[in-house]
Amino acid sequence: MGSSASSAGNKKLSGKTLGYAVLVLLVIASWAVFKVITPGNFGKPLNLLSYFEASLMVSAGAVGFFFVMVMGMFDFSIGANIMLSSIVGAVLASRFGLGYPGLILGCVLTGAIVGTLNGLFYVKLHIPSMIVTTGLALIYEAVASYIAGGQSATLPSDLRAFGSMPGNLILAVIAFVVAYLLLNYTKIGTYTYAIGSDEFVAKNMGINVNKYKVLAFIISGAFFGVEAVLTISYGSSMVAETGMLSMSRNFYPTMGCFLGMAMKKYGIPIQAIIIGEFFLQIIYYGFVALGAPTAVNDVISGLALLIIVTLTTKVSKGEIVK
């Protein structure tokens, strides 16, 4: 009955180091490849800074979405949430003259309300989260379109401090720290992992599973609210799209979360999401620099994700993966 983890502490440390090494290597390798191909218009320090700023936006949402994904649920209303939250925030900030408080509270609270609705509909209707959030996304899009008068909401230039350095960095770092603390230093984080591991056992341990599932959606929604602040501040306006067009915004937060899930075993999911989103933005801008069509970019990004997750996920022989 020998212990199989006599040096578990050391193992974890080396796992973390390995995880960081893989992530940093990915960033350097992707930068190096595009730098060699298009040395002129890619990868200078200033370029890297702008890629990083772009990654901050999606990372801020993805770190919250991780709570939903760890529990084994999904959210197809990410894009609709960001769109609706941005529009509400912009309208409160400019049309109602509430300034920055209106922008931040409007976006974050709207995101949290969207998350609450997602969570409540999911636990009350007992239908898969994918279906619930897809249905609700259509409604959120319609509401956003109604608020924006069928067009777009614009944020005045004097309210766009979170669209550039250092405002965006400060807000994103606050989001990362909050996510990290929630995951590692609160009951919510422990219960998130517990429910993701075995919902039945978690329930028997007295954990109110439905409550924490709804809470995960609320946290996720609020972080997408932060992403909404960063997004509309960066882009100055948000077009109210309908017919599920908002789903294109689902891609990067979801990709980042997949990386976070893959790196969960190394104990650095939040860090993996942040660095992973940066890596994905390098690929994106690398293809932009190359002048490649969007479709090629999407294919390569998708393949990159599959390769990374395959290489970093340690699946034991015979382990069933669903």
Binding site: A5, T186, K264
Partner: protein
């Protein structure tokens, strides 16, 4: 007169039309190990699951130290002074050892919403050290530890807060001898502190050795409560089954010659990190036993024979020269396998009994080519469920509703229906009551006599001695000895080759 700790009063629980517990009443005293015995499906686990908040009570009462309790989950049960150690794995992956120990009780480490991980780890480590499990690190992920060590974590989790009652539900069947000794030590400690243990086990000698009082349930009904010192094993069997059970439920024949015809040849089979250079031959009509310590590699031998091992080298060959390298070819060539891990590897829990029985035989249950016949499937399932006397509502019932013994009957019914010639049975009677055990032994004997060949892997030495024509002992991944069937063969002969 001992002081009463728990009064069970007129307790009832039904699942659909199944009456799992019917108007059960009895008392449990302070400072005693109180065993609950009964056949699979007799209501033991249902009763303790109600006590620990896993199931709700339909009617009746639990009175603990004079106060009625009705916990809604395990944490509420813990707060009332009741905890449980279950048979299967009860720790959660993805959490640290400390987080598992204090799951549901984190509030004492939380200040202003922030959890003091260091304090939690320190306290958990202190507990692990105190229990003598210091090699387990509180801050490590519980995933880093093997099944046995995770059970030790559960022992700490269930007992560190000095509960008034600890339920130990068939835990020992999942543990090696060393793990059992650790558990017995803790049981004695809890009893010496004046607290109570409700002990569920199918191992009757263990029940007699470890308990002070024994209560027997049958078909959800209370039968009797007796003092351990005033009853013997046969008396317990009589209580459980409701009639005389002869002691010799193993085979009684000795000296029968096993056929020379070899049906399976295993040559230099190795699985990295598990077994190396294992070679043997299985004969027609033979029951070949594999014994050893839990980690000796014997369980992997069964998988390797059935083509279920990864990275296996060496060969497994049938009499006609067919090489068995994967599961489909094993099944196609009339081989069957039942795993030790019944719930995860043998039954499909959320499918019906009928579907489970029909699974490997679907090709022969069609009306038109490629189109399954519902009638044929129903007939097939009903026939073999009846042959194995599965205790069920009907074959549409989910397997997850069945007790351990009845799940095992479903697994065996599946392979009997397939009419397999070579059966690899890994721990076929694990966690199974005396009556079902007897049924399985008799079935094995009938199969042997009809020319079927069986590889029986077991940690229960007595059943190996009682059932097998030949026993191969495994040690450190290799065969360390061979013993032939004989009335003189005893446990000591096997143990000498195991350690």
């Amino acid at each position: 007169m001992s002081e009463v700790r728990l009064q069970v009063q007129n307790l009832c629980k039904t699942f659909g039309i199944t009456k799992a517990v019917q108007n059960v009443s009895f008392n449990i005293n302070k400072g005693e190990v109180h065993a609950l015995i009964g056949e699979n499906g007799s209501g033991k686990s249902t009763l303790t699951n109600m006590l620990t908040g896993i199931y709700t009570i339909d009617s009746g009462h639990f009175i603990l130290d004079g106060k009625e309790i009705h916990p809604k989950n395990q944490v509420e049960a813990n707060n009332e002074g009741v905890s449980i150690i279950v048979q299967e794995l009860g720790t959660l992956s993805g959490l640290t050892v400390a987080e598992n120990i204090f799951l549901g009780h984190e509030d004492r480490f939380v200040k202003f919403g922030i959890k003091n991980t260091n304090a939690m780890n320190r306290e958990a480590q202190g507990l692990l050290d105190k229990y003598g499990f210091g090699r387990i690190k509180a801050s490590a992920m519980v995933d880093d530890y093997n099944f046995e060590d995770r059970k030790l974590v559960e022992i700490v989790k269930a007992t560190y807060f000095q509960p008034k009652i600890v339920v130990i539900d068939e835990t020992t069947t999942a543990l090696s001898q060393e793990g059992r000794e650790e558990l017995y030590k803790q049981m004695n400690r809890i009893r010496s502190e004046g607290n109570t243990i409700i002990f569920i086990s199918h191992d009757l000698p263990e029940v007699l050795r470890m308990s002070d009082t024994i209560t027997c349930l049958r078909d959800g009904v209370y039968i009797d409560t007796v003092k351990s010192s005033e009853i013997d094993e046969d008396g317990l069997k009589r209580l459980m089954v409701g009639r005389e059970v002869t002691g010799d439920y193993y085979r009684s024949d000795y000296g029968e010659k096993v056929s020379d015809e070899v049906v399976l040849t295993v040559d230099n089979v190795s699985v990295p990190g598990q077994i190396h250079d294992v070679s043997f031959k299985l004969h027609k009509g033979e029951i070949l036993g594999f014994g050893g310590l839990s980690e000796s590699g014997m369980h992997e031998v069964g998988k390797a024979c059935f083509g279920a091992s990864f990275d296996r080298t060496g060969s497994v060959t049938l009499a006609d020269g067919t090489h068995i390298n994967n599961i489909p070819s094993a099944i196609k060539h009339s081989m069957a396998y039942t795993s030790k891990d019944r719930d995860n590897e043998s039954v499909v829990m959320n499918q019906s009994i009928g579907d489970n029985i029909c699974l490997p035989s679907l090709d022969s249950l069609t009306s038109l080519p490629g189109v399954l016949s519902d009638r044929k499937m129903k007939d097939f399932a009903n026939t073999y469920a009846a042959e194995m006397s599965v205790k069920m509502v009907d074959t549409d019932q989910f397997v997850s509703d069945l007790s351990g013994g009845n799940k095992q009957k479903v697994v065996l019914a599946r392979w009997i229906g397939k009419d397999s010639d070579i059966l690899v049975l890994d721990s076929p009677t694990r966690g199974i009551d005396i009556k079902v055990k007897q049924d399985i032994y008799q079935l094995m004997d009938r199969m042997r006599k009809s020319g079927k060949s069986i590889i029986m892997i077991s940690e229960e030495l007595m059943e190996l001695i009682g059932m097998c024509d030949r026993i191969l002992i495994m040690k450190d991944g290799a065969i360390s000895g061979e013993l032939m069937r004989s009335p003189e063969l005893d446990e000591n002969s096997l143990i000498a080759k195991m350690v």
